[in-house]
Amino acid sequence: MEKKNRLVAVVEIGSTGIRLVVAEIDRDGFWRVVDKAGKPVALGRDVFTSGTISREAMLACLGVLHGFRELLKGWGIEDDEIRVIATSALREARNRDTFVDRVYLQTGFRVSVVEGIEENRLMYLAVRYALKDDRPQFTRSNSIIIEVGGGSTEIMLLRRGKMVAAHSVRLGTILIDQQVGQATGSNRYLARFLAESVRNMRESLSAEMDLSHVRTFIVAGSDARLAAARLGTEVNAECSVIERAAFDAFVEKIQNYTVEECVQKLRIPFAEAEGIIPGLLAYKLFLECTAATEILVPNVSIREGLLITLASGVDPELQEEFFSQVIASAVSLGRKYRFDEAHSLHVTRLALKLFDELKAEHGLDRRARLLLEVSGILHDVGMYIRSSGHHKHSQYIVANSEIFGLHRDDLDIVSNVVRYHRKASPNSTHIAFIALQREERMIVLKLAAILRVADALDRGHSQRIAEIAVERRTDTIVLRPAGQHDLTLERLGLEEKSDMFQDVYGYKVILS
C-alpha cells in the first residue's frame, strides 16, 4: 500500500484573531500550505482588561470557528487531523474552561491551550524552518528571537545557534495600550513606558546573555510582517530582511499616527492597526540594545511551528536537535545560578547511563529521559541560595523558571525530581508532589530514584567514577566502575541514597 498524503489543519485562537492553515504533508514529511483563513476577534482586549472573555467575543469566536468548520469540510479533513490551539488570551481568561467547552459542544473543535514556553518552542521551529540555511551567521553569532504579541512577549536568546534562554514575558501590545491609555493616552508616554519596560527586561536578560553582542535580530509576529511587506527584501519565500536604518525611520514616521491614520495610510485592517505602534516601537527599543544591523522577519507563525511538529513527528534528527536546545537552555539556567557544572553534568551522564541500562525496569520513553537529563543538570541549583535544604531551593528555582521547550507539566515533573534527589521521600504533606497526576508521580519516583543513585556515585564532586557497567542479578543491581578507586565515600552515599531505588524498582544497588 502506498502511503498517501495527509491533509492537516491548524487553528490558532490568538489574542487578536483566529487563524487557520491547511497543509498537505507528503510521505517524506514535506509539507505545503494549501489554504489559510483568519478573522480578527478581540479576545485579548477582553481578557487583558476584564480577565474574562465576553459573551460577544465568545459568539464572534464561535461564528469564525463555524466558518472554519465549513471550510475544513470542503477539504474533507478528519477531526484527528485538526489541531486547535489557543494562546495567551485564552490562557489567562478566567472562563477558559467554559470557553473550551462551548467551542467543543458547538463546533466539535477540541481546543488545547498552549503555554507561553510551548509557544516559544513552536516559534523556534517555525523560525528555523523559515531561515533555512540562508543566514549562516545564525549558528555563528548571538541571536535573539522576539515576538511582541497581544498579551505577552516571547523572547529567545541563542548563542551560536544554541538556546540560552527562553522567556514568555507579560508585555503585550494590548496590555501596553491599556496601561498607557489609562495613564494619559499620548504616544509620547507610550514611548517612555515602553522604554522603561524594555530596560527592565534587558537587565534581567543580561544575566543570561549580553544583548549588546547580539548580531542576529529575528522578529516574528504580524506587526513585523507588515513592516517587512513595505520595507523588506526577500531572503527566501518565507523570510524577509529589513535594514535597521529603514526600520528605525519607519517607526519614527508612524510613531505618532493614530489608529485611524494607521488604517488609512498603511492600508491595514483596524484589528491590526491597534497594536502596530506599540509592537513596532518595542522592537525598535529591543533592537537598540543589540548590535544587529538588520532585522530578519520570518513569514511564519506558531501555526507553521505546529505544522512542522505534525509533519516531522517521526523525524528523529529534528527531535534530537530540539532536545539539544532544551538541554542548552537548562545548562544556561544552571550557569545563571552558578552550579557546579562538572558535577552536575557528570551526575547527569551517570543517571542517563542507568536510565538506558534499566529500560526494561522503568519502561519510560525518550521524553522522560530528557526530563531526567534536565533534572540531573539542575538538581543542585538550589545551592545558590543555601546549601542546607538545597533540594527544596532547587525545586523552587526550577518550578519558577522557564526552560525552552518544556511545558508547565514537564517543569512540574522536573522540579519534583530535583526535590527528591536527596533527603525525604514523597509523603502526603508534599503538596507539589500530590498535585501531580498518578502517572506523573510514578515518573518522578522512577527518575528521582535513578538520580539519587547517580548523585551518590559522585558524592565527592570529583568525578572519580568516570564510567560504570551495570549488571543485573535476581535482586540486585551491581554497578562496576571502570578502573580502581577507593570507593568508600561513594558506597556510603549509596547506602544513604539508594533507599528509593530499592522501593521503586525492588533492587538493591551495590557498588563493587
Binding site: 484573531g17 483563513a37 471550510l71 469540510k73 474533507g76 492600508r267
Partner: protein, 705 residues
C-alpha cells in the same frame, strides 16, 4: 468641446458618445438590415439603463447641490447637454429606422404595417385577435385630476387615451392602459399569396381598438408612452438576516420610484403634455419618438427565422484548440495553462469543467462566483448536481447585479435547496470578480483547478461578449484563489497576495503602482509602454497616473470601448497617449493590461474597469497571465485592435471620436473578423488533419488491480 477646457472629459457625455458609436454601427448601409436593427435596439435599451441610473443620479445630485464634475460642469449643465445629445441621437436613430431599415426590411419581405395601412382583411384579423386575446388582459385606469397618477411601473409600455362623450360641454376624460407584457410585441399577420411576412405592433393594435374599452365614449386622441424611473437606489445593507427579502423590496421600489424620463409616440401633443405634467417631468425629460417607441422590445424581431440573408453570417464558437476534447480536462490543465477567448472560442469547456467536477468522485469541492448568470444555465445545473453528489459546493450569488436581481433570487434559492452553500454577496460591495475553482484529491495530493475570467458565467452572453479567461492549475494562483474565496465567503479577512490583486483593497493602488513603475523605468533608450483594453476609463487617480506616465515618455495605447474621461494627445499632459474604441458585432468586454516593464513584460486580465465604481465599490480581481505562450497570445490580441481601420474610432484631444478608414492603398482590417478568421484557419488546419494517434480509453494503471 465643453468649456472651460479641462483635463478630463465628462463621464456621462462620454458615455453618450459611446452610444452614438453603437448607433453609427446601425447606420452602416453595407450592414444587413436586421443586424442594423439590432444596433438600433441596443441604443434604446442602453439609453433606458442610462436614464434609470445615471440621469437619475445626476438629478439627485442636482437637487442636493453637488458641485462641478471633473470636467468643470455643474449638474444642470450636464443634464442640459445630456438631453441635447440624446435628442440628436434619437433623431438619427429614428431617421435611420423609418427611412432606411424598415423600408429595406419591407423590400426583403419583412414588412411592418402601421395603423392606417391595414388592409380590410388585416383589419378583420386584428380586430378578432384583439377581442380574443388582448382585450381580456387589459385593465384601463382612469386618470383623475385630484387623485394620484395610476401606477405605470418602470419601462412598461402604456397607451393613453383622451376620451369624450361627444356631447358639448361634457368634460374630456383621460385614461391609460398597460400594453400587456405577457404577449409578444411583434404580431405576425397572416401570410398572403405574395408570401411576404407582414407584422404589426401589439401597441398599435391596442391603440387602434382601444376604444372598445370605453363604451359610451369616443377616443379623441391616443398615444403610447413609457416611463423610465430612478433605479439607482441601494438595498438596505444593514439587513443582513433577510437580505433576500430586502432585495425583493428594492425591486418593488424600482417600479414606483421617481420618474426620470418619459418616451411618447408622436401621436398627440396634448396627451404628451398632460402626461409630463402629471408625472412632474420637465420638457427636457420628454422624448417624443418619431416612430414605434420602445425599440428594445423589437430585439426579438432580429432573431426571426428564415431571414438569414438579412443578418451577418453566423460566426462559430470553436472548442479551444489548446484543450483536447477527448482527454480529461484535468490532465491538460495540469500540464499547462489554457486560455479561452470568448466568443470566438466556446463557453462549453467551462460548462464541462463544472459538469466533470460534479461527476468526478475525486472532486472534493467547487466554488464559483455567479454574477449575471441565467437560471437555466448549465453552470447552475452543474453546481446543483455536484451538491447532490455530495461535493461541497459554494456559490457566491450577487443579488445586486443590476436589473438581474429578480432572476437571481429565484435560482439562488433553488441552489440552496440542492445543498449548495449560497452566499448572497457582501454588504455594501458588489462581487464582480469572476472565478471558479475545483478542488480535486489526486494520488499525489490535492490539486486545484481554477478558471479566472473577465466575463460572467453566463452561457448566453458568452456568445456575444468578447472575453478572455484562463484555466490553470498553477499552485500559487490556485492557492490565492482559495484565499480569495475564503474572504468572499466570510471565512476570512482579506489576505495580501502575490499574484491575485483584489479590489477594493489592493487593485487601485496596484494599477497606479504599475503605471508609476512604468514611468519610473522609462528612459530615452527604452521608453515605457502600456497597452490597456477596458470598457471604461473614469477613475481620476488612475488617469492622473497615466498623465504622469505620458509626461515621463511612456507610450500608452488605450482601447476603451465606452466611457473615457482621459483627454489624449494634449501637449505636456497626454501627448503620448492614444485612445481607440472598437464597436463591432461582438461586445468588447475583456480587460487586458500590458506593461513593458523594462523588457520583463507583464500581462494582466481583470474583471474590473478603471472606474471608481469597480476599483472602490466592488470586489474585483486582476490576475497575471503567467505562461509565456499565453502572454504572447494576449499581447497579440491587444495589438490586433490597434490595426483595425474599419470598426475602430480614435479619440481626439477635442473629445471627438473619428472613425478610422483604410488609407490609400491600405487593406481593410477589421480586428474581430481577423481574430475570427485566424482562429477558423487554425482550427480547420488542425481538426481537418487525420488523427496520427488513437486515444485509447483504459483505466489508469493504479485502478486496474
Amino acid at each position: 468641446m465643453e468649456k472651460p477646457k479641462s483635463e478630463y472629459f465628462n463621464r456621462d457625455l462620454s458615455w453618450i458618445d459611446f452610444n452614438a458609436r453603437v448607433l453609427e454601427e446601425g447606420l452602416r448601409t453595407e450592414t444587413p438590415p436586421l443586424e442594423r436593427l439590432k444596433f438600433l435596439t441596443i441604443v434604446s435599451s442602453n439609453f433606458d439603463e442610462f436614464f434609470m441610473v445615471r440621469v437619475a443620479a445626476l438629478k439627485r445630485a442636482a437637487r442636493s447641490g453637488v458641485g462641478r464634475d471633473p470636467s468643470g460642469l455643474t449638474c444642470e449643465q450636464q443634464l442640459a447637454l445630456v438631453a441635447e445629445r440624446v435628442r440628436g441621437i434619437v433623431r438619427r436613430q429614428y431617421d435611420c429606422l423609418t427611412k432606411e431599415i424598415l423600408p429595406a426590411l419591407a423590400k426583403e419581405g419583412l414588412e411592418l404595417v402601421r395603423p392606417g395601412f391595414y388592409s380590410p382583411f388585416q383589419m378583420h384579423y386584428l380586430e378578432a385577435l384583439f377581442q380574443r386575446e388582448v382585450f381580456p388582459t387589459l385593465t384601463p385606469l382612469r386618470v383623475e385630476e385630484d387623485a394620484d397618477f395610476p401606477f405605470t411601473g418602470n419601462l412598461r409600455l402604456h397607451a393613453a387615451f383622451l376620451l369624450s362623450k361627444g356631447e358639448a360641454g361634457e368634460a374630456e376624460r383621460f385614461a391609460i392602459v398597460q400594453v400587456p407584457s405577457s404577449l409578444e410585441r411583434v404580431v405576425w399577420l397572416p401570410r398572403e399569396e405574395d408570401g411576404r411576412a407582414r407584422w404589426t405592433l401589439l401597441d398599435d393594435v391596442v391603440l387602434t381598438w382601444g376604444y372598445k374599452l370605453f363604451p359610451g365614449y369616443s377616443v379623441k386622441e391616443a398615444s403610447l408612452f413609457k416611463v423610465v424611473r430612478d433605479a439607482d437606489f441601494a438595498v438596505d445593507e444593514e439587513r443582513d438576516d433577510d437580505f433576500v427579502e430586502a432585495m425583493s423590496e428594492v425591486l418593488d421600489g424600482r417600479e414606483q420610484s421617481h420618474p426620470v424620463r418619459i418616451s411618447v409616440s408622436a401621436d398627440s401633443p396634448r396627451l404628451r403634455d398632460e402626461l409630463a405634467r402629471r408625472l412632474s417631468l420637465g420638457s427636457d425629460d420628454v422624448y417624443e419618438m418619431p416612430g414605434p417607441i420602445d425599440l428594445r422590445s423589437l430585439m426579438d424581431l432580429t432573431q426571426t427565422k428564415g431571414f438569414d440573408k438579412l443578418r451577418e453570417p453566423v460566426w462559430k464558437n470553436w472548442w479551444p484548440l489548446g484543450l483536447p476534447e477527448d482527454e480529461p480536462l484535468w490532465e491538460t490543465i495540469r500540464a499547462r495553462d489554457v486560455m479561452l477567448h470568448l466568443p470566438y472560442e466556446s463557453f462549453d469547456p467551462i460548462v464541462r469543467l463544472v459538469q466533470d467536477a460534479a461527476a468526478d468522485p475525486q472532486v472534493l469541492a467547487i466554488k464559483a462566483t455567479l454574477y449575471r448568470t441565467s437560471g437555466d444555465s448549465p453552470i447552475v445545473r452543474g453546481l446543483e448536481e455536484a451538491a447532490r453528489n455530495g461535493k461541497q459546493v459554494t456559490a457566491l450569488v450577487e443579488l445586486k447585479a443590476r436589473f438581474d436581481e429578480g432572476r437571481n433570487i429565484a435560482w439562488a434559492e433553488r441552489l440552496e435547496q440542492a445543498g449548495v452553500i449560497v452566499v448572497y454577496g457582501l454588504a455594501r460591495l458588489k462581487v464582480h470578480a469572476k472565478a471558479c475553482m475545483v478542488v480535486r484529491r489526486e494520488t499525489d495530493g490535492v490539486k486545484r483547478y481554477v478558471h479566472l475570467s473577465t466575463g460572467n458565467y453566463n452561457d448566453k452572453t458568452a456568445k456575444l461578449y468578447g472575453d478572455l479567461a484562463i484555466f490553470s492549475a498553477n499552485d500559487e494562483l490556485a492557492y490565492e484563489t482559495s484565499l480569495f474565496f475564503n474572504s468572499i465567503t466570510g471565512y476570512s479577512a482579506v489576505h495580501t497576495m502575490r499574484k491575485l490583486v483584489v479590489a477594493p483593497t489592493e487593485l487601485k493602488h496596484r494599477i497606479i503602482a504599475l503605471i508609476d513603475r512604468e514611468a519610473k523605468r522609462s528612459n530615452q533608450e527604452y521608453p515605457g509602454h502600456i497597452i490597456a483594453k477596458m470598457n471604461s476609463l473614469a477613475d481620476i487617480d488612475v488617469i492622473d497616473a497615466l498623465y504622469r506616465a505620458s509626461r515621463a515618455g511612456v507610450k500608452i495605447q488605450l482601447n476603451v470601448r465606452g466611457i473615457c474621461m482621459l483627454r489624449p494627445g494634449v501637449a505636456a499632459l497626454s501627448e503620448n497617449i492614444s485612445v481607440i474604441s472598437i464597436v463591432d458585432r461582438y461586445l468588447e468586454h475583456a480587460r487586458i493590461f500590458y506593461f513593458a516593464n523594462g523588457g520583463s513584460e507583464e500581462l494582466y486580465l481583470s474583471s474590473a474597469d478603471w472606474m471608481p465604481r469597480n476599483l472602490e465599490r466592488r470586489v474585483e480581481l486582476m490576475f497575471p497571465i503567467l505562461q509565456e505562450d499565453l502572454k504572447r497570445r494576449a499581447l497579440g490580441i491587444l495589438k490586433t485592435y490597434f490595426r483595425d481601420n474599419c470598426r475602430s474610432r480614435t479619440l481626439g484631444s477635442d473629445g471627438v471620436w473619428t472613425l478610422m478608414r483604410p488609407a490609400e492603398g491600405e487593406a481593410p482590417f477589421r480586428a474581430q473578423e481577423r481574430i475570427y478568421e485566424a482562429m477558423r484557419e487554425e482550427v480547420e488546419a488542425i481538426r481537418g488533419a487525420p488523427r496520427q494517434e488513437f486515444v485509447v480509453r483504459r483505466k489508469p494503471p493504479a485502478a486496474r488491480e
